[in-house]
Each structure stands twice: as C-alpha cells, then as structure tokens.
Symmetry: C2
C-alpha cells in the first residue's frame, strides 16, 4: 500500500539484507530497518519490529533466503538447517511463520550446490511474498462482497497491510469495499497491550481516508449493545481443523459479544494460516509475552520523542497472554483467498492446503 505516495510492502529482500518497516515506531515515525544476518532477522520477529501472521511468514521465508545467501560453501546445509530452527523458534503461535520457513526449506531440498540453493531460495521467498500479497488481495475481493454500503465494522488488532506483505487480511475487504464506493465506518479496538489497533490500524485507515474511530477494547460491547456495529472482521494467526482460530488476545471476547448480539463475526484467513494437524484450538500453543507490555506503554511525548511510561505500581506483576482461541461456533465464516467457508467446512476442503 502507499505511504506518502510511494508503494511499500512490510518486508523485502535487498541483496542479502532483509529490510522491513519498523512497526513499533508507527504511527509516530516511519523508518526502515536493515537486518544484515539471520540473528537480526529472527530478533526482529521476536521483538515485533515485524508482526502479523502473513508478515512474519514472509519474514521467515526471507530470513531463510538470507541464510542461504550468507552461508559458507563448506557447511551451508548445516547453517541453513540451524537458521530454520532459529527462525521457527521466534514465536510459537502463528502458523504462517512455520509455513514461510518450510516453504524455502523445501524449495532448496534438491539443490546440488550452494549457488543453485541460493537461486532457488531467493526465488521461493519472493514467490511466497508475491503469493501472500495476491492472496490478501483476493481475500479483499471475497470479503468486500459481505460488506454492505453504510456498514459499521469492528476490527481488533491490526490485520491490515502492515500485518501482511500487502493489502491485509481483515482490512483488505474494507479497502476493496471503500474503493468500490461503499461507505463504511470502522470501530478500531485499540488492542492492548501493544495497541496495534490504535497505532497501526488507525494509521492504515487514515492513509486510505476511511472514516474510523479508535475505541478502548472495553467499549466494543457498548457499541454492539447500541446496535451500532454491523459486522466484525478479524485476522487469525492459526486456523485449525475444526475451525477454531487463534488470534490476538481479546478476539475471543469480541466473538462472544458478537454472538450475543447476532452480529456476523468473520475471520479473514489466508490458507497459509491453516494447520489441520491441530484438531482443535486447545492444541494451539499460546505465547506468553513479557509483563512490561501490560505494565507499561509506548507513545510519543509532547516533544515528539517516543517514550516508555510505566502505568502500574513497581511491585505489581502482569500476566500477558498474547493470543486467545475463538471456537468455531462463534465464527460466522472464514474468508480465504479461495472463497468463503463455514468454519466446519474447512477441513472438508483438503485442497485448501495446496
């Protein structure tokens, strides 16, 4: 998508350097980070310089390509295998990450020498990123059909283009609907603890000039009870065989509320998030992150400097589960790049796994 008239993806490869938008600085500062080796790329995933399931999937793929490009001819196979382990261990919940790493790993399996492995790895990573961007655009086209003119839409976290290679998952249908002339209004859950809604979704929607308002996560139920929300669309980090989805903490709360109020609850899920090896959501590992994300907050002070401020008392601990599981019964439908499915229909369509 465009920033100040120039098209950007969230992550890309320049020579053997992985480059990405530095997302913790947004919306206050736009900056590109250079990651010169696999350790730096892995660290960027762990520290959430890049986040969002499809975006970390592409980063995993580019990180693998980087590993092959930087490997020594003597021990490249072992080095690349180690890089795959490092990259896959950065975060536990999103399926796309494992998909991205595996995709490049499989692409170089038959390579006879390092040089051909390098060509295959770079091509595979670029294909994966291109396919991911194209899948998100198709999700937008399928999803836009579900959005009626005048709809007021709630979204949680950021499942926009910054969470993907381009376009977004949950926001892609909103962009497509708006560009086709439908009037929409978006309620943006701020999405504590990391405020990806207030920071990133609001930034994206502003860039596309789509009317929106940031609300506390606590206020979603208030607007639902008033009949002011027509649909909910969220992303997913992993979608399992029975149709359960893991997504940003708080997604489950919004799904329960949507069910109570009869509001359709859609999950936008590229097929790269599918993990049919998991039978139900109970099998999905849930990442527990550092308590400081809950006890503190980052923002821009009066002088324009980005600062960390502490909210809670020094002696109070925080618990910080990063994801929760929304059971299939609360999901109206899952929007993929291959069509819209009831959650229970997913596993009947093995071709979704390619």
């Amino acid at each position: 998508m465009e920033i100040a008239g120039k098209h950007y993806r969230t992550v890309w490869l320049e020579g053997s350097t992985v480059q990405m938008i530095n997302q913790p600085l947004l919306p206050h500062q736009f900056d590109i980070v250079d990651l010169v080796d696999v350790a730096a790329t892995a660290n960027a995933i762990t520290t959430m310089i890049v986040r969002g399931a499809p975006a970390i999937g592409a980063t995993g793929a580019y990180g693998m390509a980087q590993a092959v490009l930087l490997a020594s001819p003597e021990s490249w196979k072992a080095e690349v295998a180690a890089a795959a382990r490092t990259l896959a261990a950065t975060r536990p919940t999103a399926q796309d990450l494992f998909h991205g790493v595996d995709f490049v790993k499989r692409a170089i399996e038959g390579a006879q020498d390092l040089h051909s492995a390098q060509e295959l790895a770079v091509a595979a990573a670029r294909d994966l990123a291109d396919d991911s961007a194209a899948a998100c655009e198709r999700i937008g086209e399928y999803g836009a059909e579900l959005i009626e003119d005048g709809f007021r839409i709630l979204t949680h976290c950021n499942a926009g283009w910054l969470a993907c290679v381009d376009w977004g998952t949950a926001l892609s249908p909103i962009y497509k609907a708006a560009r086709s002339g439908k009037k929409v209004f978006v309620y943006v859950d701020e999405t504590r603890p990391r405020c990806q809604g207030a920071r990133l979704t609001a930034y994206e929607l502003g860039g596309e000039q789509i009317p929106h308002a940031v609300i506390a996560d606590n206020a979603a139920g208030y607007y639902m009870a008033r009949g002011e929300i027509d649909m909910v669309i969220v992303g997913t980090d992993r979608t399992v065989r029975n149709g359960d989805v893991a997504n940003k903490i708080g997604t489950y709360e919004k799904a329960v509320l949507a069910k109570r109020h009869g509001i359709p609850f859609y999950v936008a899920a590229p097929t790269t998030t599918l993990d049919f090896a998991c039978a139900t959501g109970a099998d999905i590992p849930i990442e527990q992150r550092h308590e400081d994300e809950v006890l503190c907050m980052f923002g821009r002070d009066e002088e324009g400097k980005i600062r960390k401020v502490r909210i809670a008392p020094d002696n109070s601990p925080g618990y910080n589960p990063a994801f929760d599981v929304t059971p299939a019964e609360l999901v109206t439908a899952i929007i993929t790049e291959r069509g819209v499915f009831k959650p229970e229909e997913l596993s009947e369509n093995d071709e979704l796994l390619r």
Copy 2:
C-alpha cells in the same frame, strides 16, 4: 485504609478546604490536593482528581458544606443553591454524586440563619462520609461470605477504598476475606482508557499484600475460558429499579463472558447508588469523555516524571464512552450494606432507599 502506616480517607474537610488524594498521580506519586472553593472542588470531580461513585458522593457533600461555610450572610441561600447545581453538573452517571449533594441540601433546609446552616451542613457531610465508610465495611462483611478460600477473583476498574471514602465496594469483600485468613488471588483488569485497575486497584492490593496480577482487559475472557476465574466482583455507579447497573466501560463485556462461563458475577452497591426513578439501564445517562483519554496515556517515564504520551495517529479520532450498562440478567447478586439481593429483588425492598 493505610498508606505507609498512616490511615487516610480519599476525601475530607479541613476548615473550609476540601482535601483529597490526587488520584491521577497514583501509583507513582502520593499527593494531597487543597481545594479552596466550590469551583475547585467541582473541577476536581470533572477532571477525576477524585473518582469512584461513593468518593464523588462524599466530595459532593463536602463541596456543599464548603459552599455554606464560604457563603456571604446576605445571599447564602442563592449561593448554596448555585453550588448545588455546579456540583451536580460535574458528572452525569453516578447516582452517589446527586445523593451527596442532596443530602446536605436537605439537611440545611430548615436552617434559620447562615451560622446554623454551616453547623448543619458540616455535620451532614461528615455523617454522609462516615456512613459511606461504614456501609462499605459492611459490604465487605457480606461479600466476604461469598468468597471461598483459594478463590481467583476478577475485578474491573477500581472499586476499592480510593473509589470510596474508605474500604471500597468491590474490593472490600476481598480485604475482609484476606484479613480473615482466606487465600485469594485477584486478576486486575487494567481498565482502559484511564487504567484505574492497573494504577489504583493494583496499588491498593499491593498495600494490603494481596496476591494479584494486572491483565489487559482483553485477557479476561482467556482466563475465564481456562477455568482460572472463580468469581467476578465489580462496583456500580448507578443501580436502577429492574436491577440493571451502570459501571465503568467494559463491565458489560466481562458480565457477558462470566455468563457464558457460568462464573458468578457480583455487583457491590452501596444503597446510595440506587436510583429507582430509573426503570431500566436504558434510562441512565452515559458520560462521553474526551477522546484524548483513549488516544493518549499517562505514565511515569524512565526519569520518574509523569508524562502524557500519544498512542494513536494525530488525525485519528477516538470515541470514549465512560460507562456501560450491565443488564440484571447477567448479575448473580448485588451486595449492599444491608445484605445480598438478587437484582430483581431490589425494588421489592423500598427500605433500601432509607
């Protein structure tokens, strides 16, 4: 309750000065504010230097006493009537505020001269504050009977002693249970946008050495789904005839989740919050506060300074409803200083209104 070994209430009268704990500075800085006239006292309510339904009720009463103490002999009745209007207009939702102002207004109705009005007003305000503290202690005794040893309790916002004159409403049962030797663990919703949970409830629980953890409001559903929450206790700003309650934004979300998971949901409500003139929660005016409370955050920076930082993009608006309504059907019982009632039983007990 005690801070560093010294007993404090949240608000009191010293001569004709209303004094109170400066709550926006907590937990980082403990400071007492002097409010020398009614305009200052009213402003302290509006800007939430004092907040919490019973605490602003007592502030309303002390503000009325202050008005009478500072009135001129020539026009004291008109001045006091104007002060009552000013104080009652500071915030729209909490019933205690109107109760506090009216209580002193009624106490001086028969006064023949300013001097006797002053004596009556000061005595009435002190009685109201003493009664409020005693009511909260009794709520603690009734509520503690509902808490079993080992309970893991979720609370939202701050309905502790800082929200009251002393003891608290929702936290009072927890204090009584803990002091009687029951082991409890408290999940503290941070309660965006003003983070009264992370700042004030955590501070209070730390002071009482009660084990607790701050969680994002988004995480309450996660812990309920895991079976790690045994009960929910919250306060209320207004409790109406059919048993609906208005409380801090997000309370409704937690009530819906508690219902889904079969977790008892208790509301601690001094009878001063009762408003039987409102038939249902739909009649309660909901305060809409400034968008900056959602778009920005206050906290303590690395150098110890309390700062405001902006989270959201400069051009994104925020919506900020301060309260929501939880329907009676989601409320297990209402804990008052006169016993525990099913929400639908409240209006059958007219003596609750005194």
